[in-house]
């Protein structure tokens, strides 16, 4: 026991311990947990129905067929659901800053980011993963593609990089809460907004906004650019081909940016006081 007091827990171990603690707490309200999990499955499925409804009226949206859009939707949703599972505890940050309980986070000898990301973890978030993964499998079966090792690698890489990018968005959205406590809903634009925007072919936003979503906010690197590679689709905006494989680099840069921003926020934090 004395040893653990002297040496702080490594962040991943602390994170997993906190996740286990919060899961057990959520498990106390079993009916509510099952219902919220079901709610998450439903929300994701009904979005999918909306896409099917759109395609019941037309064959192409933004120049993409139904299986192609389902691929975009599936990869986006799986990557987002994974990031939601791991990092969406950040959402409660604004409240804990406002109430002053964030001070407690700072005095514990555990990584602040691990504590914040694990905050109020609930297993209900697995619910989002179910229809997302099912859609992706459906798209993969329906797509008339020849699966080369390179394609498979990029497809898996899409989800990994998308996951990292979305996690970076979560952390950055947490940084917004440090700057303006009331801005919680603006932070949502970052996370849920970029998820929503990248579920559809980027072409629907037109060229100026499409380019902004590539070079200003790297939403296009979540699934759009690597998907163009996997689907073997020419870039409708005529951007150079190497961008299709640039997602890992973008993800690393954004993860680093998010980590730096987080450190800066922690260093600058002044308690709200009473």
């Amino acid at each position: 026991m004395a040893e653990s007091v002297e040496r702080p827990l490594p962040a991943p171990v602390a994170y997993l311990l906190l996740v286990r603690m919060w899961s057990r707490s959520a498990w106390q309200y079993r009916a509510s947990l099952l219902l919220t999990g079901l709610g998450q499955i439903l929300t994701t499925s009904l979005d999918l129905i909306a896409i099917l409804v759109l395609y019941s009226q037309v064959t192409l949206i933004g120049g993409f067929t139904l299986p192609q859009t389902l691929y975009l939707y599936g990869t986006t949703r799986v990557a987002f659901a994974l990031s939601d599972l791991v990092a969406s505890g950040v959402e409660t940050l604004a409240d804990s800053i406002r109430l002053g309980t964030f001070d407690l986070v700072l005095i514990r000898p555990v990584s602040t980011l691990a504590q914040v990301m694990a905050d109020q973890f609930t297993p209900k978030r697995f619910g989002k993963l179910v229809p997302a993964a099912a859609t992706l499998v459906w798209a993969l079966i329906d797509l008339p593609l020849h699966w080369t090792p390179a394609r498979i690698a990029v497809c898996v890489g899409t989800i990994v990089c998308g996951f990292v990018l979305f996690c970076a968005f979560w952390v950055l959205s947490g940084c917004i809460s440090f700057l303006a406590v009331d801005a919680r809903e603006v932070a949502n634009t970052f996370t849920y907004g970029s998820e929503f925007a990248t579920e559809y072919p980027l072409t629907i936003f037109g060229r100026p906004l499409g380019l902004a979503l590539t070079f200003v906010l790297p939403v296009a690197f979540v699934t759009w650019q690597p998907a163009l590679y996997v689907l073997g689709h020419p870039d409708p905006f005529g951007l150079p081909g190497f961008l299709r494989l640039a997602s890992p680099a973008v993800a690393v840069v954004f993860a680093a940016l998010a980590a730096l921003a987080w450190r800066a926020c922690i260093r600058r934090y002044r308690s709200t006081g009473s």
């Binding site: 509510s32 192409l60 907004g193």
Partner: protein, 263 residues
């Protein structure tokens, strides 16, 4: 009656105080309005008219419904009653010498008016800067729209009140809220306008209470509601009365049976 008006007025004043939070909400509602508009335009680019709606109607619909999210409580997060049941604070509410349901209606109405005042105009104005809009000029049409919003609000309140009451039995209303949100968001026409759905799906969805919250007020404003204003009001009021009645019965049951949390 005076006590409820006072409660509503004080609740309104409290909600008007959170201006920066409302500004953040407006920004978010507007951004999502843009994304939804682009999705709808992708459809309308290929079919110029769907069920009597052209592209300008679709753009108007996205931003108008984004503006309605906060006042109409489309996210179905329950009322402020839910958390009070969870913490046990509801004990105080239960011995107030007022009608329990009307008391919560008054408080929630204050909230709705407040967020309507702060949050409803900006998304539509910003949307109008970037997209073609088809807002009618006739004041009568707007009066009919507001009337439908009022009825739709009653439906939304009575649903959210029922969700909150669930906490008396399960100790946590969030599960019920999550399910109602998922179903309601789709059925109200927030994901896609009901009028853009396949006719058979549309005709079923038009019968759910959520249709009265978003789709029907919008259709009345555009003048495309089948059956006109009279049908819209009758439909909404029927659901509101039914759901308010259910809320009243459940409130009675909760009062007689339930043990309050806390200590």
């Amino acid at each position: 009656m005076r006590v409820y008006l006072t409660a509503a007025r004080l609740s309104l004043r409290r909600h008007l105080a959170y201006r920066s939070s409302a500004a953040a909400g407006v920004a978010t509602n507007t951004v999502f309005g843009f994304i939804r508009t682009f999705v709808l335009l992708a459809l309308w680019r290929q079919k110029t008219v769907i069920n009597g709606w052209d592209a300008a109607d679709a753009c108007t619909y996205s931003f108008l419904t984004q503006a309605l999210i906060a006042p109409m409580g489309v996210f179905m997060t329950g009322t402020e009653l839910g958390p009070r049941i969870r913490t046990g604070d509801v004990a105080v509410d239960l011995y107030r010498p007022v009608d329990f349901q009307s008391w919560w209606l008054a408080l929630d109405a204050g909230r709705a008016v407040g967020s309507g005042m702060l949050r409803s105009l900006p998304p539509v104005l910003v949307g109008a800067l970037f997209f073609p809009m088809a807002l009618p000029l006739s004041p009568l049409r707007w009066a009919a729209f507001l009337l439908c919003c009022l009825v739709g609000y009653l439906v939304s309140f009575s649903l959210r009140y029922l969700i909150s009451l669930v906490a008396f039995w399960t100790m946590d209303e969030r599960g019920m809220a999550a399910i109602t949100f998922a179903v309601g968001f789709f059925c109200s026409g927030m994901i896609l306008p009901l009028t853009a759905m396949p006719p058979r799906l549309d005709s079923v969805l038009q019968l759910t209470p959520w249709a009265a919250v978003i789709q029907i007020p919008a259709s009345v404003l555009f003048g495309t509601q089948s059956g006109g204003l009279a049908y819209a009001l009758a439909f909404g009021l029927a659901w509101a009365l039914l759901l308010l009645g259910a809320g009243r019965l459940l409130t009675g049951a909760a009062r007689r049976k339930v043990v309050v949390q806390g200590g």
